[in-house]
């Protein structure tokens, strides 16, 4: 398997503030890659660059050999922002169908298949036909995750995908992320604060702090290198915190 994503020496500034500083890492095709770091570390900025939302930066980013903008236009990328929300006046199904139509480029049959896949992933039962504005936070998140995964993207970029979900939903979504990675070969990049999740789900992890990658490798490699027994301790140690 080749590289799905290559990030080479990426620097991004917002005014005088440096959000990312010479960040480099690669994500292999079909792997689940976790991007972890404290608040304000630069995770969301990195994900926005890979998803083609931020196009002005220094350095090089390739997604399956093309720029993120091209990959976005070819429909290879699916991106779930951290604080995204569905269209609240549309039903859950209508939300899924709208995005399906975009990815199916107006082909209604394909769009319906895609949306039905989304319905299965969201697992909202009859509520899928209710207006999304009436959903709880967790239901909205499930709908959005379904929206991101139903298109069978080559690369799924998920910013805090499990935030706000209950235990059962988290378990199901985690299983779904694993299965699309293994069965369909989808590459998944996601950010999270939940270290248990990272340990269970990720093939490899990039630990980012103050705009720099401070640790990179499999969870086992990182834990072994830092001399700790779990990813929580690894996170604290790598970001300069104290374990006492």
């Amino acid at each position: 398997m080749g590289d799905a994503v290559d990030v080479i020496n990426v620097t991004k500034k917002f005014g005088k503030k440096i959000a990312l500083s010479s960040v480099s890492f690669s994500v292999n095709e079909g792997e689940v890659f976790g991007l972890i770091g404290p608040n304000g570390a630069g995770k969301t900025t990195m994900l926005r660059i890979i998803s083609g939302i931020i196009v002005k930066f220094k350095g090089v980013v390739n997604v399956f050999g093309v720029t993120p903008k091209e990959a976005k236009l070819k429909g290879m990328i699916s991106y779930l922002p951290e604080d995204a929300s569905p269209y609240e006046r549309l039903s859950g199904y209508e939300n899924l169908y709208f995005y399906s139509m975009i990815y199916a480029r107006g082909n209604k049959r394909q769009a319906e298949e895609m949306a039905n896949m989304g319905v299965k992933i969201a697992n909202l039962g009859e509520k899928i036909n209710d207006r999304a504005g009436e959903y709880s936070k967790g239901m909205k998140r499930r709908l959005l995750l379904a929206r991101a995964l139903m298109t069978n993207p080559k690369l799924a970029i998920l910013d805090e995908p499990m935030a706000g979900l209950d235990v059962e939903s988290t378990f199901k979504i985690r299983r779904k992320m694993r299965s699309i990675s293994k069965e369909l070969g989808t590459t998944v990049i996601f950010s999270s604060h939940d270290m248990t999740e990272i340990e269970r789900l990720c093939d490899r992890v990039g630990l980012i702090d103050r705009g720099r990658i401070v640790a990179l490798g499999t969870p086992d490699e990182i834990m072994s290198k830092l001399g700790v027994s779990n990813m929580e301790e690894a996170f604290i140690k790598a970001t300069g915190g104290s374990l006492d």
Partner: protein, 392 residues
């Protein structure tokens, strides 16, 4: 892709009942309401004129003024007004003496209540003019008698007879109907922008609102490109504008028909003018869309920036409204030409031109607005940067 964006926007709008109702109700009611306010203000408050007469010999003159003012709808009290009058006329003691002399100057003192409308003052002024004419006629007859020369006092007093006609700005003869239509065009151009405010705000909100509702970032990461997004949103806003413009046309028709019924003047509206009004309103929406996305792209889509953009557009619209009401935009020279560089003024000018029969010029102006809007939209697509809308 544009179709997909439009379908979603329309579905969203259809379910936003307040927006749909606001977009229809405001343009439907604004002109009839203005008409209602004018009529109510006239019927509720009858102008009051008090005449203070200081000499009983003045009575024939006072009666003449009083009768004239009453026929014009004023309430007249002589020497004992039970309410505070809008206008007080004082006929001094010496009035009769000076009026009956062949070359005497007569004085009447007129006091106007400072918070009063000009209606009472106008009636009093006209009544006094009527009195002056009467005194003049009497004097002319007296002079003719003294000179033993038979004359028609009316012709001596008013040798000028006006024969009224109309010409269009191009110099061609025009009808009274065209003149009335030009007046209606001014009124419509004045209320045109305020009445489509809900649609205008919807256009401004179409990008920024998505950012606020946190749906924009997901959309920007899809295969939808900038032109699909920009044109999709502008076109769907225009469809909402169609609703608003139909409502406006109905409102204008009600207003014009009511004015016609109350004043006894013929109803001058025609289908061509109604169609042109719809086109002008739709262009207002499209131009708003173009300017708002340009400003959004240059300034960024934060709440504060969106408020600034909305304010800028509403101010531009107000300038166009007032220029349509206060100026004759069918011809331009010197400094007035600068007005044409204010967005929306061209649309108002086109409406005035169409109403007076300058059809080619009016379509030319609309064409310029269409070309300008398209150029702006294409420029926005060229410089489209999701980061700017999303993060600035």
């Amino acid at each position: 892709m544009i179709r997909i964006i439009i379908d979603r926007e329309i579905l969203d709008v259809r379910r936003d009942k307040k927006l749909v109702v606001g977009s229809i109700i405001l343009p439907l009611l604004i002109l009839p309401l203005i008409g209602g306010i004018i009529l109510t203000s006239q019927s509720v408050h009858q102008p009051v004129i008090e005449i203070v007469n200081q000499n009983v010999n003045n009575l024939p003159y006072v009666s003449l003024v009083s009768r004239y003012a009453e026929t014009q709808g004023a309430q007249v009290f002589i020497n004992n007004s039970p309410v505070y009058p809008d206008v007080k006329l004082v006929f001094p003691y010496s009035f009769y003496l000076n009026a009956s002399r062949i070359n005497g100057t007569v004085y009447v003192y007129i006091f106007s209540l400072i918070s009063s409308t000009s209606q009472a003052y106008d009636i009093a002024n006209n009544a006094l003019y009527n009195l002056a004419v009467n005194i003049s006629l009497t004097r002319i007859q007296e002079l003719a008698r003294m000179a033993n020369t038979p004359v028609n006092a009316e012709i001596v007093r008013s040798p000028l007879y006006l024969v009224k006609g109309y010409i269009a700005p191009g110099g061609k003869p025009a009808s009274q109907g065209q003149s009335e239509l030009a007046s209606i065009a001014r009124v419509i151009s004045f209320v045109m922008f305020p009445s489509v405010t809900p649609v205008v705000l919807f256009v401004v909100d179409s990008f920024a609102g998505e950012r606020e509702r946190r749906t924009l970032e997901s959309l920007l990461a899809t295969p939808v490109n900038a032109s699909d997004l920009v044109f999709g949103k502008v076109i769907s806003s225009t469809l909402l504008g169609v609703l608003a413009s139909i409502a406006e046309v109905v409102g204008v028709s009600i207003f014009t028909f009511s004015v016609s019924a109350l004043s006894g003047l013929p109803f001058y509206f025609n289908l061509e003018f109604l169609a042109f009004t719809v086109a002008a309103l739709l262009l207002t929406v499209i131009l708003t869309g173009a300017i708002s996305v340009l400003l959004l792209m240059l300034m960024g889509g934060s709440v504060r920036n969106v408020q600034i953009i909305s304010t800028i557009i509403l101010i531009l619209g107000m300038l166009a409204s007032f220029s349509g009401l206060l100026f004759n935009l069918t011809s331009f020279a010197g400094l007035k030409t600068l007005f044409m560089f204010i967005p929306f003024v061209q649309i108002v000018a086109a409406m005035q031109m169409f109403a007076v029969g300058l059809t080619i010029q009016s379509f030319l102006y609309l064409g310029v607005v269409v070309a300008f809007s398209l150029a702006v939209l294409l420029f926005v697509i060229k410089i489209f940067n999701p980061e700017r809308i999303l993060l600035r």
